[in-house]
Amino acid sequence: MQEETFRHSIACIRELTRKIARPLRLMEVCGTHTVAVCRSGLRALLPSGLHLLSGPGCPVCVTPAAYIDRAILLARSPEVLIATFGDLMRVPGLSLGTLENERAKGAKVQVVYSVADALALAGERKNKKVIFLAVGFETTAPGMAWAVKTAAERGIENFMILNALKTMPNAMEALLKSGDVHIDGFICPGHVSAIIGSNPYEFIRREYSRPCVVAGFEPSDVAEAVAMLLAQIAEGRCEVQNQYLRAVSVDGNEKAKVLLDEIFEPADAEWRGLGDIPQSGLKLRDKFKKHDADLMYSGLRATAGGEKTGCRCGDVLRGLVTPMECKLFGKKCKPDHPVGACMVSSEGSCAAYYRYEKQ
């Protein structure tokens, strides 16, 4: 059945691309979609003239390198235990190396599956400040909100987050506003949308006249979403459609959204490759500031700085170049010795291209 859906979608994509008869660039915003596209070989089945661009939807990749340095400085503090998702361990900072190296040198850095595990650690290790590296989008942020709220309610004052949480719709708008790359339509992130719903993309349709389709993560889902976008373009429609009906509604998860609003407020945020984007981050509200490692350790700051020489992660994240157009790709920069974050995270565009599409 799914194989049938996939084949049917590919046939539709070919026919619609012929009918539209101009080059088309669709962006898959989410890193998990990029992996699905690369892994399934979907790209090779697309007609020439139809391009899928990877977007800024890998949380680890869009986290500024200075954040890693800051986490390393915190890890060097004897009273601190850093808890983190495994994806961040091998991401190089600006000048201080990686958390993995820091752990090898004796720093307390522990990989956890969930922020709930970090909160439990804080409950057990009262002599340590347990700082969770809060990196992620709207999918991940409600869990952080739950952890901060629970810590506050239970008086677990040694639990903090180093916050780099971000929100997707404003980043999509920033890409369109920059004019750096032409995008004909968006494949919107499925699990971000499970939380926020499909409604928040309406302004992209309304103000920027770009069609959006929220998609699931299997190859047949992504292929169907591409066909839906092309059908909109071919028929002169511009809508927000939802292919991922299994997980996404118009309004999303109300309970999670209420919790997010209780704990966080929108704030400007820095994105690697995209710079500062207004109102694209989540800041802890004042009443939770004792759980904000950024405030509690405001004296420990890494020096600012630019990208490493030659690394084009920033351009990859904006869809300006494919990973293979970076001179370091597959040479100086490989998964076992990455230069940029996009080669580290399993969802990074460079890692996905290297693993599945490198000739």
């Binding site: 949380p59 680890v60 709930a116 991940t140 299997e218 889902d221």
Partner: protein
């Protein structure tokens, strides 16, 4: 990092639940979904249930996982 998978809730204790997928059990937090109960299927991301799934959705997911290119 936004990967999520469907699991079945086995038991619930406050915010926590024991959930099972593919014979593997682990603790998850269920406080982000409305009225979770044992036997429900939920989509789990990084240890948190973010959406309830119908049995039909789970069947569809399992069908897809047996399909093209996704193991």
């Amino acid at each position: 990092m936004c990967v999520a998978i469907p699991v079945k809730i086995i038991s619930i204790n406050g915010d926590e639940a024991v959930a099972e997928t593919g014979g593997v059990r682990r603790k998850i937090i269920v406080s982000l979904v409305e009225a979770p109960k044992p036997g429900d299927y939920v989509l789990v991301h990084a240890g948190f249930a973010i959406k309830k799934w119908s049995k039909k959705d789970v069947r569809e997911f399992n069908e897809i996982m047996g399909g093209i290119g996704a193991k």
